[in-house]
């Protein structure tokens, strides 16, 4: 769920004037026909830019998303939980890697994308700017955040850009256990001691609203949705996905005896959906702007890892260069 449009007015159409109407029409027809676009195919500049932004934002969300959960790897309460959490956070690193690779096929390097993340220019999912305080937060993230992610990502397996679609197929396959392990943690806590149940309810209280905000601004304030849907790089609107998420999650919470922290939440028989309370969009946009509770910590952790790793990356390249020149010398004297 890391693919929400977060720029209110992105500058996409620069240079579009120079594009030949025939090429654009042929491209639009291919996409409308559900064909896959591959990296070397002709594509409108705005499509390329939108994709780079969306895929890299998705990738950033995966690797920033490693941090709140990684915060509990050393404190997981059993050997099994520790192994599962390690594997899950590692998967997220892998997913970031698949997605960066997909974006790289469009001509932007991973390092350039990292720079954009570190400088604060690039966005990532707002949800990861909230802190993980207790073990139950690990359950809540798996259940709610990964649950939301799946809703967003499953349709993207059919997105129009081939490398992105293929990355999503792999991601979805691997993520199938993530939400289940989160729900299992919550279920276990809810059925546990009084303290454990309180921990689970507290986590739901803190993560519920950020989770439903994750789907992004309401459709009437999401300017690029129509174009993105037409281009098949978004397959359902923010509000459609949000509603779907609420509808499946509320009964899950009830089934394990937890209360969703929304006094206005009620089943609407006529609509066949849950009605839910007003979302605090002021908070959402503040978090998008980088004012989330632990946004500074998240970006600093990523920047530190990158800067502290520079000498390692340089060393490996230096060794490769030395090896290459040694081989050349050997060949010359061979």
């Amino acid at each position: 769920m890391y693919t929400t449009e977060m720029s209110k007015n992105p500058q996409l159409n620069k240079g579009a004037a120079a594009e030949s109407p025939e090429l654009v029409a042929a491209f639009e027809a291919r996409v409308a026909n559900d064909e896959f676009i591959e990296p070397k195919d002709w594509m409108p500049e705005a499509y390329r830019k939108t994709l780079v932004r969306q895929i890299s934002q998705h990738a950033h969300s995966e690797i920033v998303g490693m941090l709140p959960e990684g915060n509990w790897i050393t404190r997981a309460p059993s050997l099994r939980r520790k192994a599962v959490l390690l594997a899950k956070v590692q998967d997220e690193g892998g997913h970031g890697l698949y997605l960066y690779s997909a974006a790289e096929t469009l001509g932007t390097s991973r390092d350039e994308m990292f720079e954009a993340l570190h400088s604060g220019k690039a966005k990532y999912s707002t949800i990861f700017n909230y802190p993980t305080l207790t073990w139950a937060d690990i359950g809540a993230i798996g259940w709610l955040v990964d649950g939301a992610a799946i809703m967003n990502q499953v349709p993207l397996q059919r997105t129009s850009f081939g490398p992105y679609a293929r990355a999503m197929v792999r991601v979805c396959k691997e993520e199938s256990f993530h939400q289940r392990q989160g729900f299992e943690i919550m279920m276990n806590l809810s059925a546990g001691t009084v303290d454990q149940k309180a921990m689970a309810q507290d986590a739901l209280n803190r993560w519920w609203w950020p989770s439903i905000m994750m789907f992004g601004p309401p459709d009437d304030n999401s300017p690029n949705t129509a174009q993105s849907v037409r281009w098949r790089i978004k397959r359902e609107t923010n509000d459609e996905l949000r509603q779907k998420f609420v509808d499946v999650t509320v009964p899950q919470a009830e089934s394990i005896g937890l209360t969703v922290p929304d006094a206005d939440l009620k089943w609407n028989e006529a609509r066949g959906h849950y009605d839910y309370g007003a979302i605090d969009w002021e908070e959402f946009w503040a978090v998008v702007k980088g004012e989330g509770p632990v946004a500074k910590e998240r970006v600093k952790a990523r920047t530190d890892a990158w800067e502290k790793g520079a000498w390692v990356r340089e060393a490996a390249l230096a060794h490769a260069a030395k090896q290459a020149s040694r081989r050349q010398k050997d060949a010359a004297h061979g």
């Binding site: 591959e38 070397k40 195919d41 002709w42 594997a87 590692q90 998967d91 892998g94 890697l97 698949y98 690779s101 790289e104 390097s109 991973r110 390092d111 293929r166 990355a167 792999r170 691997e174 990356r313 340089e314 490996a316 390249l317 060794h319 490769a320 260069a321 090896q323 290459a324």
Partner: protein, 99 residues
């Protein structure tokens, strides 16, 4: 690496995995790595964490020579008119077996 467009980055490698014996290697994705040996390690650690493979190939992405999608017409369409390369082109009566 003198001709590398981004000399300060680990180059990109394409990863091909044989899922099981008897099958061809298939493109799985890419990794960054400073050299071939480490690229293999990275490919293993990234793409075979769930028993996806029995063999891995890696190749520098910049070493791949690809056909031009703009030339897809001349490259692939001539094959469309050569239906006689397919067995269904030939009519054999039903009572003839093992052919």
């Amino acid at each position: 690496m003198a001709n590398d467009p981004r000399p300060n980055e680990w180059p990109l490698w394409e990863v091909f995995i044989r899922a099981k014996h008897g099958l061809s290697h298939r493109h799985a994705g890419s990794v960054h790595a400073p050299d071939g040996d480490i690229a293999l390690r990275h490919a293993r650690d990234t793409y075979t964490r769930r028993m996806e493979g029995v063999s891995i190939w890696v190749i520098r992405s910049s070493d791949i020579v690809a056909s031009d999608p703009g030339a897809a017409g001349p490259t692939f369409e001539p094959a469309e008119s050569k239906v006689y390369r397919h067995p269904t082109f030939y009519i054999v009566p039903d009572h003839i077996k093992h052919i």
